[in-house]
Point group: D2
Chain length 338, copies 4
């Protein structure tokens, strides 16, 4: 932690800051420059981060030096983590893992048809929403428990592990019974109660990046889960909100490459939500794999025109198969496989 | 709803779109232009908004015409709403209502001292956090139930209604017992489970705008609460996330003036979180009142240097009193009072 | 300047950094912490800011301590500057100065009618564009020299100083002959050639904030002008680009209050471009004055329905007069006058 | 163009709108819905886009239907354009073209050494800045004419065409003499005077996307150049400004895929400026090629520690060679070559 004093800070101001630092058992190093005095704090930063140093008399600004996350950082755990999600599927190794399925589970026929088709094309995990976060209270909200049951039944039939979203602390236990991976959606990335709740389970958690979350906040949200004892965390980039409205969101692939450097956790990419346009899903899938993503999450619907949610970004099974073939080639070009 | 067809759309494509619209009991109006054919949909838009029209063959884009919210719109309810929050305090009338208190309740002494001082200066509602959403799992998380009890006890002593945040669906009942207003924080603006839960109560709800929520999404979140039956909603602008980092957030006062035109709900402003800097709280409070806000929410702490949360944006009681005097003058200049 | 070394930086890496700093005649202070070594640089930061320290072996990040601007900072010049713009009008004192007129000068009748009406209502400066930056090459591009002549003729008739935009380095001399203030538009805020050119004149320059310029970049652009010798600079906040699309831009009034603290230059606000909506101009004008703006720039057009540019944000003269009366009251409430 | 009338619009308001449309020789189609009346305009949209329809009595909002650009759109010119840049190099075909060189030309030794190394590694165009847009007036501003001469001399020695930035309308003629491609930098994307000036030449122009330019505005800027008669335009994505500060900008690769669909112009990517970090240049280069970019622009410096500009994002020649080998594999995976 670096504390920059104002130009007009007095000796007394500087002494007060030093004293507060030392009171916490830390060491202060004072550097008197020509224009400003700077106080460096040596010792664990988190001890002092709770102090509102900016309001101390004479303080101009406070600059943290270390990243505020620990358990999820590569500094702390240099090897890349591999998360086992059931039925032999592992995320974070050389294999690119693709999760596919409809945005929302609508009925048995739809989820079963999709499951068979995506498995055949090479998907390793079946996705499908039972609880849907919808911007409008008047939109389809998902089938709930009934949807969870359909997902589980079909997944066992086809032999794929599953992922589905959990939105409410009260549902964590129930969803854990039916799904192999718990998904935390973008709108809940800083729903700290929910993060703590899934941190108490031992289920793999897929943590989507918040719509306007910085990389640091995203990793801090992962730290919430990890600090509860559950380190089976998969990060998922799904587009951030920017001024550009042509795409629904702006898929931030440099965040994928950055997070692979900053953290040991696996990172996957959701180009369906990330772009909101079915005709951008293929190019963005290829780009994601090229820059180091450990997997993809793709919306597939047998009849997008009839989808009850997000049809405009869903692929039909034929297009999904084509995508898988192209992704395979790019994966090989970067030394991985699918 | 307007559906713009692609340049190369066939007669069959157009017919298919028209048929789907008519199947929903709506009327389609086809306008053939030189470069594009456009299909207008006449009838309730929500009927068709669930259809993924963008993926219909030949469709280029879909443009909604009406606002997607209804109960909270001024179209639906032209008179401005006044929300009664207890102990005779009403928000949304000519009186500017100021809520003040510490970010987090730390102990009886702190909350009591603050309560007396802010009441004396003219605040009408006591604020204080018992459950704190913190970016880091290692930061102070609030006193929980114990904090709620302190808040209630002190509030009764000084005779002010109270506001405090609720973060978890499981806590709504409990917090409702102790507080006069339920606050939904910025990170939970699209925690739809929580919105539905508070929509089931009859408590006034203060809904903070999400960090990157559009005005439309903010009003849709209010619509979630209203559609559950609870229309005692107060909106709160508290800064949005932009590229600017000098201020913690960018306080969007034009959203206040806009929402007053679009909706009948009262709107207040939180300049403390909106700027993150104690020395910007005064000018932004004056600006908020000048442009039509119905109230303010201000962080006050007797000793900001010792605050366990957000000290750097808190005012000391003396500065708060000064602020109230200046706000009074601006309120009068725009035909209101405090 | 603070240099944070990587966790795995070697002694040799640290020595190399120290040597490079000392070679520039600066002093390096090394603080070895538990997790990181930090090197503080003492001496003028600009000397070292040209060094790409981030690529030195072992360096993790570099954090500047001082603001990169000097001539325009309040540290350097604590008193607020007052810019004289001709015909006795001064910006930056207790008087709130309002500039008004049409977006584009269209013909003599339009500019003359507007000039008389805005002067009567209390405007002190006449605005009108002769060179128009338009997003589309097919939109009206302004009358050029002919427009400048009309502006000058009318201004002398009514006795108001003028402001108009200059877009091309080749036009600076010409525009200087016809206008009292040179306006640098938002799209040219970092047109460094143009900044240098107006920095060579002795004309007052109004520098609009760039659409996505940080406060720091805005002040650095002003520094470009000042470093050329021209310190007659007026800053103008006119809205920034954010994710919100309801308003054309997001008017950042906290930037006004911030810049008044960071710099000695006067700051005015353009609510017409800042919001893009005529019905938000009044509330945002009041808010601007309440939070400390030294003036306003308002688009007024006698017949907005016939305007060749930006009609949708222009006020008719009657509404402008109403605005002036309300602004007057708020100005008095904050101890200023109009 | 669709005009949505207010709920309370009168018959007279609607008639007035219709009359104005018809006066322009266009056809108006009125659709009376339950909640709103909608007026569709049939005929060339640009005729009406100059009318400030939003201020007509009774109008709620105006929604354009067609893209405002024409010459650069794929609708207008379905085949992909190939731009010839000299010495047999073509951009926009199956070959991926890489431009490489230092951010700024510093001296003959530096530019010559870099030129030989990048050519050897497979670069097809030599880049180097002679006029540098720098945020600070105190930073190195480029060698100007002297730099242009060095670039030309070295380029002829090694046999590569060149690209360099032009910042001032007055320099266009001069830079055209020395360089094969004129670069318009991100800060000048809406310097309309400069766009018009390069539109008058027959030189290939590389148009960087503005820091906060939408895809539409970027294509409109290209339309400015094309409407002057010069259609030798290459677009360059180089990162947009968002709230994320970990990377210097957010590289928007979905814009690359989008622009390839919307326009016939070739698109290249600049991952050096796009990320600001040398260790993100490789993954983002691979991703760019995977999603359809026609080329790359990479900063290479023999000794980044000594660079006078942007050293922190430059690659050393060895790393550049490694990058070229990896890019080659990804190019082949997507059916292209280098």
């Amino acid at each position: 932690m670096i504390i920059v004093m104002r130009k007009d800070a007095t000796e007394k101001d500087i002494e007060y800051v030093v004293k507060r630092i030392e009171k916490l058992g830390l060491k202060a190093m004072v550097s008197k420059g020509i224009e400003r005095t700077i106080v460096g704090v040596i010792g664990p930063e988190d001890k002092i981060s709770m102090q509102p140093l900016e309001v101390f008399p004479g303080v101009e600004k406070v600059m943290p030096v270390l990243a505020p996350y620990k358990l999820v950082s590569r500094d702390f755990h240099p090897q890349s983590s591999i998360v086992e999600v059931g039925k032999g599927v592992k995320i974070g190794g050389e294999e690119i893992i693709v999760m596919a399925g409809p945005c929302a589970i609508e009925n048995m026929e739809q989820i079963r048809e999709t499951a068979y088709r995506v498995k055949q094309a090479g998907a390793k995990i079946l996705r499908g929403g039972a609880y849907k976060p919808r911007t409008s209270p008047y939109s389809f909200q998902g089938l709930g428990l009934e949807g969870l049951k359909m997902l589980k039944e079909v997944a066992e039939e086809v032999g794929l592990p599953t992922i589905t979203e959990v939105m409410d602390t009260r549902d964590v236990e129930l969803v854990s019974k039916y799904s192999d991976i718990l998904q935390i959606g973008t709108r809940n990335m800083q729903n700290f109660s929910l993060l703590k709740e899934v941190g108490q389970t031992n289920k793999p958690v897929l943590l989507k990046r918040g719509l306007s979350a910085t990389i640091k906040e995203w990793l801090m949200a992962a730290e919430y889960i990890a600090s509860g004892g559950n380190t089976n965390i998969i990060l998922c980039e799904r587009g951030i909100r920017t001024f550009e409205t042509y795409t629904r969101n702006t898929l931030d692939l440099s965040a994928v490459a950055s997070v692979k450097q900053l953290s040991h956790l696996p990172v996957i990419v959701d180009p369906s939500h990330g772009t909101g346009k079915y005709n951008l899903v293929l190019p963005m899938s290829l780009a994601a794999v090229a820059c180091g993503a450990d997997g993809l999450m793709i919306e597939v619907h047998p009849r997008p025109q009839e989808a009850l949610s997000d049809g405009s970004q869903s692929l039909i099974p034929d297009k999904f198969q084509e995508l898988m073939e192209k992704v395979k080639k790019v994966a090989e070009a970067v030394g991985r496989y699918i």
